[in-house]
């Protein structure tokens, strides 16, 4: 049988790749996609532990995480669209209106 730690290693790898994406890319859309990646890594953990403890609660939590991800994607992409209409850029380091 596959140990739970292997699922945790997979989840860690996806999470780390997502963190790298959020911190290093300039494109805001790719940053949002990386956040979706991070949420997915969390879901793998939740489902693996749900299986480990023989309880369905982890899967219910994963459903809530997916609902959150949908809400976040809708609002985040709406903000990106509004911003692109006003400033003609989707690069995070050019969004510096509030910078000194």
């Amino acid at each position: 049988m596959i140990p739970v730690s292997h699922y945790l290693f997979l989840s860690l790898a996806l999470f780390a790749v997502g963190v790298v994406g959020v911190l290093t890319r300039r494109n805001v859309i790719i940053m949002l996609m990386s956040i979706e990646l991070i949420l997915n890594a969390v879901n793998i953990n939740l489902v693996a532990f749900s299986r480990l403890y023989g309880s369905v609660d982890g899967q219910v939590f994963a459903i809530f995480v997916i609902a959150d991800a949908a809400a976040e994607a809708a609002v985040g992409l709406g903000i990106i669209l509004a911003f692109f209409r006003n400033r003609k850029t989707i690069h995070a380091d050019e969004m510096d209106l509030l910078k000194w």
């Binding site: 290093t24 299986r51 309880s55 369905v56 997916i66 809708a74 669209l81």
Partner: protein, 169 residues
């Protein structure tokens, strides 16, 4: 048993590989396609963990709904400029080092406890009637959270409409 292992490692490699490709591609459309691959591989992991309902939800909501939203926005913003732009921001070395340190920290913790958890065979009730069990938990024990989630989705929908609307002059 052998098949389960094979499936797990196949889906895991697919997920991690396309995640790395997603973060490094220049073209946003390619990145979106690789994100779809990662999401499908994750759905495969769910299926392998005998979470059938979550597998279908992942396919419908993530690979269906959310990705359509992403591709829609990608098509609305300017692709030509992006193809010539610098991909990474100025602090990418520091950010990469920080992410590496974080990953190593969690990896060490996991490595110390790698022998602790062994996945038991799923209980019969969980394996055979997955959707029914999930629905039971969702509508009895977690019903308040379920209602809050529906309000959150309503607020997000209104927010997206307000953000997407062109302001009347």
């Amino acid at each position: 048993m052998m098949l389960a292992k094979l499936l797990f490692y196949f889906f895991a490699l697919l997920a991690v590989g396309s995640a790395v490709l997603m973060v490094t591609r220049r073209n946003i459309v390619h990145a979106a396609v690789f994100l779809v691959t990662t999401l499908l591989a994750t759905a495969g992991i769910f299926l392998q963990l005998e979470a059938e309902f979550l597998f279908v939800v992942q396919l419908l909501v993530y690979a269906g709904g959310i990705m359509v939203l992403f591709v829609f926005v990608i098509m609305l913003v300017n692709l030509d400029i992006e193809m010539r732009a610098v991909r990474f921001n100025k602090q990418w070395t520091v950010a990469g080092a920080l992410a590496f340190v974080l990953a190593m920290q969690v990896l060490t913790a996991l490595w110390v406890g790698r022998k602790t958890f062994h996945l038991p065979a799923a209980p019969a009730a969980l394996a055979e009637r997955n959707t029914e069990t999930v629905a039971d938990a969702l509508f009895s024990h977690f019903v308040l959270a379920f209602e809050v989630a529906s309000i959150l989705l309503l607020v997000a929908m209104i927010g997206a409409v307000v953000m997407g609307k062109r302001r009347a002059e």
